[in-house]
């Protein structure tokens, strides 16, 4: 599911001087620029994650964070002082908020545990078969032709549900001197300086 980031610039004490004097945050043209700065900052942050967080199983990379980067959209203006940026990727909300994922009735979740399985649906493989345990869980394995009688090579765990912890670090911070709010305010201030200089 997609994720939206909403930032409301409702504290004039944080504004740079020109934005504060002119109440420029209320101007749609300035806020469009601030919103684009937020979107650009998000894209750069996801480029950084793509470099720093390859999948832990190894195997062929899917560049999840590269996909997320490309799904960042142009922000919407919200109310008189807000901007909302949507990140339109199916997996980002789960990464941020975490939570439990439960299989549909009668089915199991397939959790990859083999580098070759990462980034693949289990049904893409035509040579796996299940081994079930007493507790109802199981594994999907590929037979070892070299070692008949061996359990085989485990590709997926089969479980009813899985819990994923949320991770706020999948988004850059909003606050602080390098946060999204500061980046947006600096971009708005810089653009307003240009407009004022032209009008002078």
């Amino acid at each position: 599911m997609a994720l939206s980031v909403l930032i409301e610039f409702d504290d004039p004490r944080k504004y740079p001087p020109l934005l504060r004097l002119s109440n420029g945050v209320q101007r749609p043209d300035i806020r469009r620029v601030m919103g684009r700065a937020i979107a650009g900052a998000l894209r750069r942050y996801f480029t950084k994650l793509d470099r720093e967080r390859p999948n832990q199983l190894g195997g062929t990379r899917t560049h999840f964070w590269g996909q997320v980067r490309r799904s960042v959209q142009q922000p919407e203006l919200v109310g008189g002082d807000g901007v909302k940026v949507a990140i339109n990727h199916v997996g980002i909300a789960q990464r941020y908020f975490g939570g439990d994922i439960e299989a549909s009735p009668g089915k199991k979740l397939t959790i990859p545990v083999n580098p070759e399985a990462y980034g693949h649906r289990a049904r893409e493989f035509t040579d796996l078969h299940p081994i079930w345990f007493e507790d109802g869980s199981g594994v999907l394995v590929r037979d070892h032709t070299e070692s008949p009688g061996d359990i085989g090579e485990v590709f997926y765990r089969l479980v009813k549900r899985v819990h994923q912890d949320g991770d706020e670090t999948v988004l850059p911070p909003e606050d602080g001197k390098d946060g999204l709010e500061a980046i947006a305010l600096n971009a708005g201030e810089e653009h307003l300086q240009t407009l004022v200089a032209r009008a002078a």
Binding site: V5, R32, E190, R198
Partner: protein, 279 residues
């Protein structure tokens, strides 16, 4: 404040859905020749894949791309959908080709088909949004840089950049020897740099290269424009009175263009792209 909410990437969705299915037995080299001959705009409006002649196959790929752009599915699920379709047709590549790019059922081939389509739609969406007048005024330039690592990255991008700059206009674009590859957003270097003849990502297959905005102050410091230089928004409307001069070097390519159904040649030999169902 963060909240989960599905929101369509409007411009990207439009770009993905506007494409006409183009079954063809053309190969990648012939598509590249069409781009070199100045017909990128025709291909920009088509959904095609080298050697894919089945409309149904293209439709499965097209649906997958549309759903990926809409953010409602993932690559693995759509790859499985394509594989299931091909299994249903009994398709099997010759043994010597299995697992390669020419094997329509291989991971590498399907991933490429889906990812390029999605990237083109999203790249267009980001480009289009960046053409809004206020945004273009504040961010009149963009930088070409690596956005995804590759095990074996291409090393010739600086040379390709300089060649595109020399072939178009040197003003408004840095020389790559400066350490940065930056140009005004509507500079012709972007089309010249792109394998696909388009001014937005991706610029080549699996390149890992992309673009990010450069603010006016930064662009001024690079000598690309002045404080008061106005950059005019561009548009690349889909299915809108597109014409292409027929400098198609091979009769075969001309015939293929004719057979696409994307348009027709007029008496002067100009290829007129037509609206679906229109004149």
């Amino acid at each position: 404040m963060k909240f989960p909410r599905p929101l369509p990437f409007r411009q990207a969705v439009t770009a993905a859905q506007a494409r006409t299915l183009l079954p063809t037995n053309m190969r990648t080299a012939e598509f590249a020749q069409l781009v070199a001959d100045g017909h990128a705009a025709v291909l920009e409006r088509a959904r095609f894949s080298a050697g894919v002649r089945s409309v149904q196959h293209l439709d499965v790929i097209d649906s997958g791309i549309n759903d990926l752009v809409a953010g409602v599915t993932d690559l693995a699920t759509q790859r499985l959908a394509v594989k299931n379709f091909l299994r249903g047709t009994g398709y099997m590549a010759p043994e010597s080709e299995r697992g390669t790019l020419t094997d329509l059922a291989s991971d590498v081939r399907i991933n490429l088909q889906l990812s390029v389509g999605v990237q083109q739609a999203q790249g267009y969406g980001w480009w289009k949004q960046g053409q809004q007048a206020d945004i273009l005024d504040a961010f009149p330039a963009q930088e070409f840089l690596r956005v995804e690592d590759r095990m074996v990255p291409r090393q010739d991008w600086p040379q390709r950049w300089n060649a595109a700059r020399s072939a178009t206009v040197t003003d408004g674009a840095t020389d790559s020897s400066s350490g940065r590859m930056v140009a005004l957003k509507n500079h012709p270097i972007w089309v010249a740099l792109s394998r696909f003849g388009t001014p937005y990502e991706p610029f080549d297959y699996n390149s890992g290269m992309g673009v990010e905005d450069v603010a006016r102050k930064d662009a001024m410091n690079l000598g690309l424009l002045g404080r008061d230089t106005q950059i005019f928004p561009q548009d690349r409307p889909f299915n809108e009175d597109l014409q292409a001069t027929v400098d198609v070097r091979a009769d075969r390519l001309r015939q293929l263009l004719q057979e696409t159904g994307l348009g027709r040649f007029d008496r002067q030999g100009v290829f007129i792209y037509t609206r679906e169902g229109g004149n």
